[in-house]
Amino acid sequence: MLLWIAGFIILLIKLTIVLGVVLFLAGYLVWVERKFLARLQIRYGPNRAGPFGLLQPIADIVKMITKEDTVPDGADRTFFLIAPAVVALTALLMFSVVPFGKDITLLGQKVPLVVTDLNIGLLFVFAMSSLSVYGVALGGWASNSKYGLLGGIRGAAQMISYELSLGLSLVPIVMMAHSFSMVDIVQAQQRYPFILFQPVAFLIFVVSAMAESKRIPFDLPEAENELVAGYHTEYSGMRFGLFFLGEYVHIMVFGGILAVLFLGGWRGPFLPPVVWLLIKIFLVALFMIWVRGTLPRLRYDQLMTLGWKVLIPLALINILVTGAIGLIFGG
């Protein structure tokens, strides 16, 4: 029993650290984005709040927390309240299946460096990302704002379209790793990362995942040029902050999953595994920011067309090809 309590404390500490680090990194991802975008745009970005503007995220968070929280007339208060929570919750939970290192041993017990090693890890990710649609759609609908509604609907349509190609693009990975468990998938990449075997799946996944995290060129649900702020038009203060947080956690999760599935997860020479994972996440995030700084935005129907007429057929064909090749060479 004592051991259980000790283990529980270790677990709590571990999970708190994980959560803390994820939140901290998500906060600083905002800073990274602002600085990196600035440099791409030949300027400096935030540099007054602390050295190099390092305290910028703190300023933003404190400001948002102490800001008035408004609810528009005619809004569905319950849904309006929980929508940002859904987005943030699902994004954070998705991170729980990302392994960030080999097991370590404490008190003679193996402490796995993953929050949860579900044998259906990948499916859990899909489930969570499907759930986060509710945040967007409900938030947009519950605000009683037309712009919000249009954004919410765009978000829902976009997510259900890309959910499919996202899922199908990963089937070849599962075929190669024989498992849905993220830990097993990392194991399976002991020698080579999957990106070498599955470049097509990688591409489909990157595009679909960017669409899922609503980033340019797929940021239609919040396209400010068209829909003001889309589904979060009516959100203020920390409720808006949670949407914001959710978006950046999503980027990290996306980076983490991409790293696990295609880039060998925490594997890498010389440096400790966690560092490798963070480096990979960081690079993926930079890539997304870079893309954001470059590309225009697709239109609603073009986005759907890309999903249904290009990515889904491509993903299906990729499965067939992978299967055939696997059977011929794998034996």
């Binding site: 602002r34 975008l37 600035a38 791409l40 745009q41 030949i42 300027r43 400096y44 970005g45 935030p46 540099n47 007054r48 709040a49 503007g53 910028q56 703190i58 300023a59 933003d60 968070i61 404190v62 400001k63 948002m64 102490t66 800001k67 008035e68 929280d69 408004t70 037309k146 712009y147 249009l150 765009r154 340019i216 060129p217 940021d219 239609l220 396209a223 400010e224 040029n225 068209e226 829909l227 003001v228 702020a229 979060h232 038009t233 009516e234 959100y235 203020s236 203060g237 808006f240 954001r292 700084g293 470059t294 590309l295 225009p296 935005r297 697709l298 239109r299 609603y300 129907d301 073009q302």
Partner: protein, 824 residues
């Protein structure tokens, strides 16, 4: 006791933490009213980089914004919207009033403008300037940051403890009590302001100085073709259409009201050449003409009313109550014709007939005439106000209408609450007769919206995201620039012309001075002509760079904005070196320029022409062949050449439909015939074609600039005809005869001869013209501004109906609209 002290220590620490955070996290709302917003936007770009202060997160929704930068003129029609947006911001919130207009009404002491935003919302910091340069806005931001840090105690409010301060705590100013109504500052109330706004100068019983100072207006020789047309007109319409014997600019006919429609139809469809485009349709209130007042005086003096009636009819120069003016343009052989038709206020034979069935574009023009003069048109489908709000009383361009805002009842907070813009469904019902019961999904896009490029209100009836019908509501940016032209002296009006298109700067002065110089027959030294061309082309580049940035931004690409503004800053630096201004050059003068070119101008321009083409290629890499950009622009927002001509579209938007129509080539002015350049065209008429045309125009502008620099003539920068010009400063300071001219022209203003003239130049957005009517006084009798935007934007519903919201945004972006030349 100890607990209290601890609590207060905690609160003071909390104060500091919260204030510090807020100081560095002032997120401004994406909100702009007019010119100042362009400088505000520049403040966000790389050279000034407001992001350094943590204030770059521009929020399009008021819910997430902390800071409202009121950048520009607060119009009475938009004031309720400004107030609502401010009130929709959550606490705490701050306000920076940017620029003279927002501070006090600035140069727009005129009926449609609120004299300072502080009359409806509280203001923390006022930034002076017109517009304030980006650094000035940054200074304003720093002052606001200091104010937050040093004076606010927010924690008591944040923890609901009662007391404490946060956000704006200043009251809304009350006019007369806490705020002066006089432009000169407090203490002047009751002392008359120079230049009354109702009648020009009162009764003038012929003025000896008229002839001494002012020779008659210019007269043109009619060409063979013009004479042939006049002959044909005489044959067809006999006495009903009379050729005006003297004209300063173009063939002019006076036509009886009943025949106007026939004449116009003839000119459009049958005459040779065919006058395909309705350039402009406007009116003149003739009631305050000097010799008309004189005649009236005679009539009152005489007892025999009938005799006076016949006498005054025969009197040359007897004016009707109103004149309706139509101006047509022929594309085949470049040329214009003007049709004038008199109108009596009372007892006349019916209303003028609407010409909307000849030119669809007449719809808005006739509404404008109705709005401004109260003239009704028979058979107009939807004659209602267009620029002024529905609740407005009176017709502002009538001569008996007071022009100054300070002469009217002040606009207060109550007005801003009461005077709401019309409901979207109501507008749609009026415009295309939707039965009011029909619950379509109406969405207001604008007047405050990121992508409407100003205060344009699009009312879309949606089916999903498809636009079933689109109505436009304009007038949110109506600065009464035509009324101001009747009040300000000819010279004083120059700064106002810049503001008629704040991205094209002196291109607009160019149109204006061309008109006045045509009328008064002033000859411009070659050097001044070349500098005018140089400035016009520099501003064209600068305008197209902003257009490229905003267009890219509209389709979602954020970075071109930052790059193109870097080069734009280079151009503005040159403009500032030469003229002293950035957005508003205020450098062209009637008769020449304000000053000669300064030292170092050549190096600066050479530097630009060396770098620019390479950079342009670089920016094009982000857009031209980008598949997403192509998908968003190709085939979107198409308009056919036939439609474009019918609707009066001009500029790059017309050239993108396949017609190489450019005033610089077709009706050259200021020596454009000496420069070697091409007029780029495309045929598709879609967003992408408009993109290609504008980009190519930038290359051509560089070519022209290079030629100007190479061949810059020497000589004077201002005409020697000091009757009409502010003399050269060097001479004025040392020479008494020159000083006399200087005194007269600066105070009373130059007197431009009686007559009328239209002067237009090819500004970046198309044909921008001024139709100036002079009664021989120091200011215009009627100042008509023909903005290209007014005609161009009318085609938006045609282009956007059936497309989606996203397409509407890229169409607006590709059209390069700017509100002051639409609403004027």
């Amino acid at each position: 006791m100890e607990r209290d002290r601890q609590a207060s220590r905690f609160l003071s620490i909390a104060d500091r933490v919260i204030n510090w955070s807020r100081k560095y996290s002032l997120w401004p709302m994406f909100f702009g009213l007019s010119c100042c917003f362009v400088e505000e936007a520049a403040t966000f770009t790389s050279r000034y980089d407001m992001a350094r202060f943590g204030a770059e997160v521009m929020r399009p929704s008021p819910r997430q914004a902390d800071l409202l930068i009121v950048s520009g003129t607060v119009f009475k029609k938009i004031a309720p919207v400004v107030l609502r947006l401010y009130e929709q911001m959550p606490e705490p919130k701050w306000v920076i009033s940017m620029g003279s207009c927002a501070n006090s009404g600035g140069m727009f002491d005129v009926y449609s403008v609120v004299q300072g935003v502080d009359q409806i919302i509280p203001v923390d910091v006022y930034v002076p300037g017109c517009p304030p340069r980006p650094e000035a806005l940054l200074e304003g931001l720093v002052i606001l940051q200091e104010k937050i840090m040093s004076t606010e105690k927010p924690s008591r409010k944040v923890f609901h403890l009662g007391g404490g301060t946060q956000g704006t705590d200043r009251p809304v100013l009350e006019i007369g009590a806490t705020k002066s109504r006089d432009p000169r500052g407090p203490g002047y109330e009751g002392i008359p302001i120079r230049g009354t706004s109702i009648l020009p100068g009162g009764l003038h019983w012929g003025n000896r100085s008229d002839l001494m100072w002012t020779p008659p207006a210019r007269r043109i020789e009619l060409s063979e073709a013009d004479l042939a047309l006049a002959a044909e007109m005489r044959e067809r319409f006999g006495d009903k259409a009379r050729l005006e014997p003297h004209s300063s600019d173009m063939l002019t006919f006076e036509v009886d009201r009943g025949s106007v429609k026939d004449v116009l139809r003839f000119l459009k469809n049958e005459s040779k050449p065919k006058y395909k485009r309705l350039d402009d349709l406007t009116a003149i209130d003739e009631s305050a003409r000097r010799n008309r007042i004189w005649n009236k005086g005679l009539a009152e003096a005489s007892s025999d009313a009938g005799a006076v009636e016949s006498f005054s009819r025969r009197q040359p120069g007897r004016y009707p109550d109103f004149t309706v003016v139509y101006q047509l343009l022929s594309f085949d052989t470049a040329g214009r014709v003007r049709i004038k038709s008199g109108l009596e206020a009372e007892g006349g034979a019916g209303l003028p007939a609407s010409v909307t069935d000849i030119w669809p574009s007449a719809n808005w023009y006739e509404r404008e005439v109705f709005d401004m003069f109260g003239i009704r048109f028979e058979g107009h489908p939807n004659l209602r106000r267009i620029l002024m709000p529905e609740w407005w009383e009176g017709h502002p361009l009538r001569k008996d209408y007071p022009g100054r805002a300070t002469e009217m009842a002040p606009y207060t907070l109550e007005d801003a609450r009461k005077r709401q813009p019309m409901d979207a469904m109501e507008v749609a019902a009026l415009d295309h007769k939707v039965p009011p019961g029909e619950r379509e999904f109406f969405l207001n896009i604008g007047p405050h919206h990121v992508s409407t490029h100003g205060l344009l209100r699009c009312i879309a009836a949606l089916d999903g995201e498809t636009i079933k019908s689109l109505d436009l509501e304009i007038g949110y940016h109506h600065r009464a620039t035509e009324k101001l032209g009747e009040r300000q002296s000819w010279h004083q009006y120059i700064p106002y012309t810049d503001r008629n298109d704040y991205l094209a700067g002196s291109s607009l002065e160019f149109s204006y001075v061309t008109a006045v110089e045509t009328l008064a027959d002033i000859h411009i030294p070659e050097r001044a002509q070349a500098v005018r061309v140089l400035l016009a082309e520099l501003y064209r580049l600068s305008n197209h760079l902003v257009w490229m940035a905003t267009f890219a931004h509209d389709v979602g690409a954020m970075t071109p904005n930052f790059y193109t503004f870097a080069e734009r800053e280079m151009i503005l630096d040159i403009i500032e070196l030469i003229t002293g201004g950035r957005l508003h050059a205020e450098f062209l003068r009637i008769g020449g320029l304000a000053a000669d070119l300064p030292e170092g101008w050549k190096e600066a321009v050479d530097n630009l022409t060396a770098i620019f083409p390479r950079r342009l290629l670089e920016y094009e890499k982000l857009l031209r062949e980008n598949p997403i950009f192509l998908a968003r622009t190709k085939g979107i927002g198409r308009i056919s050449l036939e439609e474009a001509m019918d609707w009066g579209v001009s500029g790059p938007n017309l050239r993108a439909c396949g017609l190489a129509w450019d005033l610089r080539k077709k009706l050259p002015y200021s020596g454009y015939e000496n420069y070697d350049f091409e007029v780029p065209t495309e045929t598709a008429g879609d967003c992408y074609a408009r993109y290609l045309v504008r980009v190519e125009e930038m290359r051509q502008s560089i070519r022209i600039i290079e030629q100007v620099v190479r061949n810059m003539p020497s000589g004077r920068h201002v005409t020697e005809d000091y009757r009409y010009a502010i003399p050269e400063r060097r001479e004025m300071l040392k020479d008494i005869e020159t000083l006399i001219h200087h005194f007269v022209n600066v105070t009373r203003g130059m007197k431009i001869p009686v007559g009328e003239a239209y002067g237009a130049t090819e500004v970046p957005r198309g044909e921008h013209g001024y139709y100036v009517v002079s009664d021989g006084l120091g200011s215009a009798y009627r100042m008509r501004v023909r903005g290209p935007g007014f005609a161009n934007i009318q085609t938006l519903p045609i282009m956007a109906t059936g497309e989606s919201i996203a397409d509407l945004i890229s169409i607006i972006g590709s059209m390069d609209v700017i509100l002051p030349d639409i609403d004027r």
